[in-house]
């Protein structure tokens, strides 16, 4: 005997018991999408989510990041002198930058930091939005244009004492060199008074580059399925910056970019040489102003080529030979 379905009966019922019909003369509004900038991420900063994230960051993400990207950190000692909120403005070459930077920060910053993430990329599906909000405390930032809502979200969080990681380039580098910095970090600093700590991350593109970086002009799927390549990285923190009296966000933004540029020079040479190089020296951050192949050339050989040119690991060769001999 068939069981009666009361919900089905209601669905089939006529108004007012059932749903009303939409008048054909009235435009139906688009369905409310709770994604992108509209995604409600407040839950990700409540205690249970923070606790879970802290456990994950410290016990899973951190060791994983350390394994995949053994890091050298410079300048982190100055973070001890800072009080939250702080804006960390870093160059961006890889998806690895965020977990790497977060797990490099001292615990008192790490567990109270939100990450500005592209609303159109990380928040375009509910499951993605939930995943990044929970795992990295990501907040949606509109990167295609200046957006009041993005700025308000970040400003409110800074005022509540949260630190912010932001990538002022607005996205990962398409060719390995940094792009022009946008004014978001500077604007937020001017608005909230939070200092900006410039950060330079070097080496992550060798581990996980942007998908189409290795094949510019390709379909964008060439790197799909490419395994992570383990490589050392360097994270350099600069001295905190604040907007000078009367300095607007645009000028301050340029100063932040110059500060990251000095950090990039520091990695390429050393701290003292970076300070002594003239400001108009060929860019260590944005790359030489030259045709594409020369820019690619200036990046140095890709990691796999470097490995191929390296001397063979004699110990490993010996072990392999011994094993073969045993088998033989």
């Amino acid at each position: 005997m068939k069981t009666p379905n009361p919900l089905g009966a209601i669905g089939r019922a006529r108004f007012p018991l059932g749903a009303p019909d939409w008048p054909s003369g009235v435009d139906r509004p688009p369905p409310e999408r709770k994604v992108g900038l509209d995604y409600d991420h407040e839950w990700s900063r409540r205690y249970p989510a923070r606790l879970l994230r802290a456990v994950m960051l410290d016990n899973v993400t951190r060791p994983l990041a350390q394994f995949v990207a053994p890091r050298t950190v410079r300048g982190d000692e100055y973070l001890r002198l800072l009080e939250a909120p702080v804006i960390f403005a870093a160059n961006h070459a890889s998806h690895l930058d965020t977990p790497l930077l977060l797990t490099t920060l001292p615990a008192r910053f790490r567990h109270r930091t939100v990450v500005g993430a592209a609303a159109d990329y990380f928040f375009d599906r509910r499951w993605k939005a939930a995943l990044w909000s929970l795992s990295l405390a990501a907040i949606p930032i509109e990167r295609a244009r200046v957006n009041r809502r993005s700025a308000e979200i970040a400003t409110d969080l800074l005022r509540e004492g949260w630190n912010l990681v932001i990538f002022p380039e607005g996205g990962r580098s398409p060719d390995g060199w940094a792009q022009e910095f946008r004014g978001g970090a500077a604007y937020l600093s001017v608005r909230t008074g939070a200092p900006v700590v410039p950060v330079y991350i070097h080496g992550t593109r060798r581990i996980l580059p942007k998908r189409d970086e290795a094949h510019p002009g390709g379909s964008g799927t060439e790197n799909r399925g490419r395994p992570l390549r383990r490589a050392p990285v360097t994270v350099v923190f600069g001295a905190p910056l604040g907007a000078a009296d009367g300095e607007d966000a645009r000028r301050f933004g340029a100063r932040i970019e110059r500060a990251v540029e000095v950090l990039a020079r520091e990695v390429a040479t050393d701290w003292w040489a970076a300070r002594r190089s003239p400001q108009d020296a060929p860019g260590a951050l944005r790359g030489p102003d030259a045709v594409a192949w020369r820019r690619a050339w200036a990046l140095g050989p890709p990691a796999e080529l470097e490995r191929a040119n390296a001397w063979p690991d004699v110990r490993l060769a010996r072990v392999t030979a011994r094993r073969r001999a045993r088998r033989g």
């Binding site: 000692e77 003292w272 300070r275």
Partner: protein, 529 residues
């Protein structure tokens, strides 16, 4: 709430037992009623923006000096000298103040187009710093930028090629200092004034000097006439250094002095009870004390030493001043006194103190018996202005295990000093006459000093001379809990309990003695009136 000043507590029936340091450990001792305990002032607030304060100090120098930026020009020779591993104590959390200051100096030098820059660790006759210690003091960035190019050097007081004799003072004191520094267009000296003895002309005149120069003030006569060497106007040690410093200036050597002072935030939060007054210990403090004391009692001394030497102090900068040496030093001294000064009324018959695991000469190393004597009789006894805390002929009771253990890499000459010199004499004058020269010129010690990480051969003598004023002043020195053999070798009396020590002291100072306990670290300076 602003930090509370130091004060003197009179012990009565309600006073809880008092914390005594005991090397790599501590005990609680109940002092007789009527005793006085001197508590250090609480740590002063840190500068809100230390880097900003450094920039301001460099741009607004004190005394007869131009701003640092105006003293820098392309083509000049710039030498940046800095205090060595003996400061601060314990080593501070990163960033070290030397790193913060030197980075700012180098920023200005880079902006001015100065290329010829050399950094010199002002060691005097101390051991050379290890790479890890240099990295800690200067930061990885400075180390990696300068060390690989041979531009980060350590002063070698035995390198005749790299020393220059600038002349003799009116008192006939030879002034011989580091050649690179002396022949530079500008010396920038970055100092940490942890105690009132540090800084001033002593930075260059001692830190960059040779044995030939140092022996004029590091001798029993000078030390006996430095009462105390923590108070420059009454210190022959400082008078001699000041004469030398003025001669250096007259010789045309230009010094831009940067002096920093730190607060007495000495121990990290897990050892917070070490900074608190006992009656304010919370349950957490009491549990931590009990657990730590018990654990330290049971683990081998080597392990507890490792634990303590891994402590990084959360010291914070309380002031930074720069410019002409004497004017800068005056300001720095005022900051030191503001942090450490405690007014004490009158002297007592007995002075007690617990000695910790560290002194300026055993960072990352063992505190051998000679350094125990130096810390108690040299440093802590001399932490006064006016007159000593204990009356002439009084008794000093200091607690420390005083094991006859030595670090052969860092303190090779100390071993021979202990075996050969102290077994013959404990009189500073006599050992000065009979033994000093042979230790100071021993080629093996010179070799170890120059190429390894050894203190100079003469260094143990200097440590003993440091005690000269106290040895002359005191009627008896009792070491509570000390190894009897080592204690007797140094001419002191061992005691196993505080009660025994007090009974022994009464033999010297009579019945019903007055007693003062120096509750330190954190460091304090007694202004005895």
């Amino acid at each position: 709430m602003s930090p509370r000043p130091g004060f003197v507590l009179e012990v009565d029936g309600s006073t809880p037992p008092t914390l005594f340091w005991d090397g790599e450990g501590f005990t609680l001792e109940r002092l007789p009623e009527g005793s006085r305990i001197i508590y250090a002032p609480e740590p002063l607030d840190a500068l809100k923006d230390p880097v900003g304060a450094i920039r301001h100090a460099l741009a607004h120098p004190i005394g007869d000096s131009e701003p640092l930026a105006a003293l820098l020009r392309p083509g000049m020779r710039l030498t940046i000298c800095f205090d060595d591993v003996s400061l601060p104590l314990p080593p501070m959390e990163r960033p070290d103040v030397r790193q913060m200051v030197i980075e700012e100096v180098l920023d200005l030098a880079a902006a001015a187009g100065v290329d010829d820059v050399v950094l010199v660790a002002a060691l005097a006759l101390h051991r050379r710093m290890t790479e890890a210690e240099l990295r800690h003091a200067l930061g990885d960035r400075i180390y990696e930028a300068f060390a690989p190019h041979g531009l980060l050097t350590q002063h070698d007081a035995e390198d005749p090629e790299n020393l220059v004799h600038l002349g003799r003072t009116a008192e006939g004191e030879d002034v011989e200092i580091n050649r690179r520094a002396a022949e530079s267009d500008l010396i920038v000296y970055v100092n940490i004034s942890l105690v009132a003895m540090d800084g001033g002309h002593k930075s260059v005149a001692t830190g960059l000097a040779s044995y030939r120069s140092l022996r004029h003030h590091h001798n029993p006569h000078t030390m006996r006439h430095s009462r105390s060497f923590m108070h420059a106007p009454s210190s022959e040690l400082h008078s001699s250094n000041w004469r030398m410093g003025r001669l250096i200036k007259e010789s045309g050597v230009k010094v831009f002095q940067i002096e920093t002072t730190l607060n007495t935030d000495t121990f990290p939060s897990q050892f917070a009870f070490l900074q608190r007054r006992e009656w304010e210990w919370t349950l957490k403090d009491r549990v931590t004390y009990a657990a730590t004391a018990k654990a330290l009692d049971t683990v081998p001394a080597k392990l507890s030493r490792q634990v303590f030497h891994s402590i990084r102090a959360p010291h914070a900068m309380t002031s930074v001043q720069a410019g002409e040496v004497e004017a800068t030093h005056e300001l720095a001294l005022a900051s030191v006194w503001r942090q450490q000064g405690v007014v004490v009324e009158g002297q007592s018959d007995i002075l007690t103190m617990g000695l910790p695991y560290i002194c300026p000469y055993n960072v990352n190393s063992i505190m051998n018996p000679i350094l125990v004597a130096c810390l108690g009789l040299g440093y802590f006894f001399n932490m006064y202005r006016g007159k000593p805390l204990v009356r002439p002929g009084g008794v000093l009771i200091m607690q420390h295990p005083t094991r006859p253990d030595f670090n052969p890499a860092y303190h090779p000459s100390y071993i021979d000093f202990y075996e050969q010199v102290l077994s013959e004499t404990t009189d500073p004058n006599e050992m000065h006459k009979l033994f000093e020269e042979s230790f100071a010129t021993d080629p093996w010690y010179v070799h170890l000093y120059r190429t390894g990480h050894a203190y100079h051969g003469v260094h143990p003598f200097y440590m003993w001379y440091w005690c000269a004023h106290a040895l002359e002043h005191l009627g008896r020195v009792i070491v509570l809990g000390g190894d009897p053999g080592a204690v007797r070798r140094m001419g002191f009396s061992p005691a196993s309990t505080m009660a025994d020590a007090l009974e022994m002291a009464k033999d010297v100072v009579g019945p019903s003695p007055s007693l003062t306990h120096l509750h330190t670290p954190p460091i304090l300076m007694a202004d005895v009136q």
